[in-house]
Symmetry: C2
Subunit: 402 residues, 2 copies
């Protein structure tokens, strides 16, 4: 019954599902509060109170058939305009409502872009470590993923290798900053160099190469770190945004695409993207949530809560002797595994600590710790992390640990 394309996804999925089921079993055996689940990117910080207030106000103030009704496949015009104006205020851009297309989250936005531009065999470049789902999105449209190996010193993109990988078949490049799973942010200098390379290759091959910027973590940056807006760097940039993390609404599936005027064939691309949104079956982004965004366009979650988690976890892991870079943004910490990452995750699970192996992000030898959990869960998990470190003989430079 299952299509050829879905078969490997089902087989591959069962391993993850088995892990998930094991986690549930552990929780049943030892009690939920004694299992330290750092595997999922499901925000623990609640949506700002303005979100629920907006829902209540909309339901009582706005006209019901409009609130729950169809609108243009691209979304309500007033919502798109509000988002364009907000971006312009914050980043000095010059977007109009025609540059904004409301989507069922960023994942759907990525599918919309890839359906719009990919022909079978087109190559899409990603930088390891990368969010594994990108591969599925690209293969949905018979594209081919081309992976730039990780620079495990800095986890910044290896631009020399990147330039080498661009071929005449390259149609798109995906970046994700702040990054899942590393938490690094690409600097203006990095974006400038990356753009220069892409401009050069566009000229060399006489074709358009699209830069897809997947930005669900844009608002989660720490220590005043700047997350440069990408569209001014490179003309063929399209942005996938989601409110899943910035407003803690991952289940609501609300986000948008930015397709700037500067994109080649802008009119056709914008029209095709709206149609792709429809024929992929989304039709439009959920209507009530669009109305909510209209009223909450400049709101954001309490980033301090994530920062407290980051400081506590990073500080203690270093203290216990683990190796990791300090995340600048997002809510993930990418830590070196003292042994094979899958073996390490297995060992951690025995200590009731659930992590995701770096292999799942094309970067073996590391593990991802999602710290979008309660501060209390991190506190309670620390003895387990310490015991794990000791078991591997880490923390040798402190008294009596080795």
């Amino acid at each position: 019954m299952i299509s050829e394309k879905m078969r490997p996804l089902v087989e591959n999925n069962s391993a993850i599902r088995a892990m998930f089921e094991e986690g549930k079993k552990l929780a049943a055996l030892y009690g939920r509060e004694n299992v330290y689940d750092f595997s999922l990117g499901n925000p623990n910080v609640p949506a700002p109170s303005a979100v629920n207030k907006a829902i209540l106000d909309i339901v009582t103030e706005e006209e019901t058939t409009m609130v729950h009704g169809y609108m243009s496949n691209a979304g309500y015009e007033d919502v798109r305009d509000a988002i364009a104006q907000s971006l312009n205020r914050r980043f000095g851009t010059h977007f109009r409502l025609e540059n904004i297309l409301m989507t069922v989250g960023a994942a759907s936005g990525m599918n919309v872009i890839l359906k719009t531009i990919l022909n079978p065999g087109d190559e899409v470049i990603v930088f390891a470590p990368y969010f594994m789902e990108y591969g599925s999105y690209v293969r949905n449209y018979d594209g081919v993923l081309s992976v730039v190996p990780p620079d495990t010193e800095t986890f910044q993109p290896d631009l020399t290798e990147f330039e080498r990988r661009i071929t005449e078949k390259t149609k798109a490049v995906i970046i994700n900053t702040p990054n899942n799973p590393t938490g690094v942010i690409y600097s203006s200098e990095t974006l400038e160099k990356l753009s220069e390379i892409m401009r050069g290759k566009e000229k060399e091959y006489g074709k358009s190469i699209v830069l897809i910027s997947d930005e669900p973590y844009r608002e989660l940056a720490y220590d005043g770190a700047e997350v440069p807006y990408v569209t001014p760097f490179y003309h063929n940039t399209m942005v996938c945004y989601s409110y899943s993390k910035s407003l803690s609404l991952p289940g609501e599936r609300i986000g948008y695409l930015v397709i700037p005027d500067e994109v080649d064939d802008f009119q056709a691309v914008a029209a095709a993207a709206a149609i792709a949104n429809r024929v992929l079956g989304c039709v439009n982004a959920p209507s009530l949530m669009q109305r909510v965004i209209m009223r909450c366009v400049d709101e954001q979650v309490n980033v301090d809560a994530y920062n407290q988690n980051r400081e506590l976890l990073y500080g203690r892991l270093k203290e216990y002797g683990f190796t990791c870079i300090k995340p600048q943004g997002a809510f993930y910490l990418f830590m070196k595994a003292p042994v094979d990452d899958k073996e390490f995750c297995q060992f951690c699970k025995e200590h009731l600590v659930l992590l995701v192996p770096g292999s799942s992000f094309a970067c073996p030898g590391y593990v991802r710790i999602a710290y979008c959990v309660s501060y209390d869960q991190i506190l309670r998990s620390l003895p387990a992390f310490e015991a794990i470190a000791k078991a591997y003989g880490l923390g040798g430079n402190k008294e009596g640990d080795a």
Copy 2:
């Protein structure tokens, strides 16, 4: 920039878009209330008051990170269970939550099924007239649409031609009852015959053939007409349902799939469908709306309002001399065009009446009138319909009309 697959969609879309823009122009010129737009299936009857009450209650009573958070890709288990129980109560079925997968409306549900089962070149049979988007959904997965020509006497499926069209490449059959655009309902007898043919062909070719029942209009049936539940007739049936019409929530994108235990390879199909829901970018159906369905599972819109529209419009159109069958369900009336359907739509537009040509449903010579508008709009439009009838010399059997 645009992919080969999207190009015809963009070109084809521009004609519809031009018509839509023309409608807006007409409204600006003559006033919105003097333009009679029957082109769209956007419900005018508001959602039951229980829906907005449920939203208010959920936001104040349920835990925010749960209401707006991620859940399983298949949806909240309690919501899926509530739907299964409701179906069992109403149709004597035996579904469990594992048979229900929450989707971003029925359009997305169709995409999920087709992605799950189609290999390139697989044929999918539809009965004309049919909702044009089916073709796009099938082509998304490189399937090939096979169209059974319409029986314009009854608009019931032509089962002789259907049997002839099933080949060893046939993977699925799509039915839509109550039907868009004709309003007909398939009887138990029809479903039984159709199922018999499919069982025979499954045996003949030694393969599974899936019956996809697209049911957004299930709850809209008039004069006590029965809409038989399809799964008991045929083992490989999957149902695409949406609350767009039954609760007037088309913008919210909330619906579900039913994948019964009897489907071949049930476990694999159900697992693959949940993954397809994720990798197509939906991830899950909008979370707050899932919670709303939990509380409104047995609610429905005021069907009487649509029935009043139906009676008024059908009665008058017949009186003016038009030819049409009386719709048994849904909120469309499929009327014979006295001349070429596109030419007729053009003429109607000059009388400020906006209709969709039957050609857009693979059934030229007819027009679709969406009567999900206000009763008042229908009343106001009657002189225009009468004038149009007179212009074509219809209604000849009444005094002095010919």
